[in-house]
């Protein structure tokens, strides 16, 4: 199932970026899941039900600003502060996880989504408890900017 989820995530990310930002992204191998010294923004949306877990989408603050301006079709300079970027990143995570949820429902696994939450900072890393299944995917854009999607799922037997 986790491998299926990885495919679902790839499809969801491509679809969200194609429809909302009119850009094509490609999945590339990831070097490291850790975020560097540059300020990063990670948005998280959880899903609770037959399958429980959380997905994080993160990018550098500079790239998140670019993504926001592309999503709202406005010049980068017009993006008003962190709040607007946080909201756009949260919405991207919401859409990606929502698309994955739809695919899970098709397979008979029902769940509900949480509202998005945002973490912003530098030198931060995302860790999972040892029993969680974890997948980290990296997506590259035409200008070589990268976006990382990290998925953590609680094993079904722990979902009681």
């Amino acid at each position: 199932m986790i491998d299926d989820l990885e495919e679902m995530l790839k499809t969801a990310v491509s679809e969200v970026f194609r429809k909302m930002l009119k850009v094509e992204v490609r999945s590339v191998p990831i070097n490291s899941g850790a975020m560097g010294a540059e300020t990063h923004i990670a948005s998280a949306v959880g899903f609770i039900g037959d399958m429980t877990g959380v997905a994080y989408i993160y990018a550098s603050a500079t790239f998140a600003n670019k993504l926001t301006s592309a999503m709202l079709e406005m010049p980068e300079g017009d993006v008003q502060g962190d709040e607007m970027v946080n909201d756009a990143m949260g919405e991207l995570a919401n859409m990606v996880v929502g698309s994955v949820k739809a695919a899970m429902v098709e397979r008979g696994m029902s769940c509900v989504l949480t509202i998005p939450s945002i973490v912003r900072g530098s030198n931060i890393s995302i860790e999972a408890i040892s029993t969680a299944t974890r997948r980290v995917l990296c997506f590259q854009f035409d200008d070589n900017q990268k976006l990382v999607v990290e998925l953590m799922i609680k094993p079904p037997e722990d979902n009681e």
């Binding site: 679809e15 429809k19 926001t68 709202l72 709040e83 919401n94 929502g98 698309s99 949820k101 509202i115």
Partner: protein, 374 residues
């Protein structure tokens, strides 16, 4: 301001995108960031449609929808759900609550406009407003024909106007173009392969951006079947080939209700001057007739009591000229306006041959006419 659209979504990004999607339409987009706010705005503003998110803090979309549907004053407002939570379970649940439609995120802006346009009558901004376009204003005319020579012929014919002529050969590129630039008029070939002209007409009428744009059919004069079908399905009019450019101008003017009066009417030296052009014919006569009463009312309102009809550029006195002249004479008599006609030798001579016009007195120049009126 016409219609009101309420977007209820906790994401400012989504609210901004919805706002942007309807920017080119004559409507106001109201915003609320959760169900509680949404219900308050709906009660106060009575929007024409609500676009409602599901997953929101404070009050989610399900509860909001339930409350809306149980309020006698609000239950009639159509609701479209816009949600990231796809899946059969959600769809069934919201369908039971009585939503008009639903959209799954991610979405394209055009899709939101399309779905909302199916429920409320969206009109492009500027339409139906007080400002009347003039014939010499810039217009965007889209010609859809797979024969570039036809597009070129129309472009050449209209080069004395400020109208921008764009040619497209296929349905796909026509739709793409219309989503970027909404034309003022679309001229659509009825002889595109595989009935594409009629199919495209249906698509354009179903698209919120183009559903109010006048669409002319274009076919050869002898294609009676195509012309009849075009009228039946709702084309505004049909332009026939060989193309009469004056006819095209006249049809565009009528379809857009363009003000062409400045081409024919002038208030000068205390008189109302009706100036007919060299290309005078039935189309021009129709146009002038449309402006007669408003122009005469205006003139009388401004204190004028004299009318000069300048027919000197007209080449021949045909039935349309005579009918127009008689109508002007009738109006002058009705409003007690003195009048004189300026005519070329040929028109003066030809008018002597008709019973209705044999007594018309023609002057040689504006000065002669003015002298005779004073």
């Amino acid at each position: 301001m016409g219609l009101k659209i309420l977007t209820v979504d906790d994401s400012r990004t989504i609210r901004l995108i919805v706002n942007k999607a309807f920017k080119s339409f004559d409507c106001e987009v109201l915003e609320a960031q959760n169900g509680v706010e949404g219900l308050a705005v709906a009660s106060k503003e009575k929007p024409d449609i609500i676009i409602l998110d599901i997953t929101m803090p404070i009050m989610d979309g399900y509860e909001t929808l339930t409350k809306l549907k149980s309020d006698p004053e609000l239950k009639g407002i159509p609701v479209i759900m816009l949600t990231a939570e796809a899946g059969k379970d959600n769809v069934l649940r919201i369908a039971k609550l009585g939503v008009r439609d639903y959209l799954i995120k991610p979405f394209k802006e055009e899709l939101v406009v399309d779905r909302v346009g199916r429920v409320i009558d969206l009109k492009p901004k500027g339409q139906g407003q007080a400002k009347v376009k003039r014939f010499d204003d810039p217009l965007n005319i889209l010609i859809v024909d797979d024969k570039p020579a036809i597009v070129e012929q129309i472009r050449n014919g209209l080069k004395d106007t400020k109208w921008v002529i764009t040619g497209k050969a296929h349905s796909g590129e026509t739709i793409d173009h219309c989503n970027k630039v909404v034309p003022d008029i679309i001229v659509l070939s009825l002889s595109l392969p595989e009935n594409a002209g009629f199919n495209l007409f249906t698509m354009l009428r179903g698209n919120a951006k183009t559903k109010s744009v006048p669409i002319f059919g274009l076919c050869v004069k002898t294609a009676a079947e195509e012309q009849a079908k075009a009228q039946q399905v709702g084309f505004n009019t049909v332009v026939t080939k060989p193309i009469d450019i004056e006819d095209v101008k006249s049809k565009v003017s009528r379809a857009l209700n363009l003000d062409t009066s400045y081409k024919y009417f002038q208030q000068r030296d205390g008189v109302l001057l009706l100036n007919l052009p060299a290309n005078f014919g039935p189309s021009v006569a129709n146009e002038v007739t449309l402006h007669l009463r408003p122009q005469f009312s205006d003139a009388v309102d401004s204190g004028l009591d004299k009318v000069i009809m300048d027919f000197s550029a007209v080449k021949t006195a045909d039935i349309s000229l005579i009918k127009l002249g008689l109508e002007v004479m009738g109006l002058c008599s009705e409003l007690s306006l003195k009048n004189r006609i300026i005519g070329s030798e040929a028109v003066t001579r030809e008018c002597k041959n008709y019973e209705e016009t044999k007594d018309w007195r023609f002057m040689n120049s504006f000065q002669d006419a003015m002298a005779a009126l004073n």
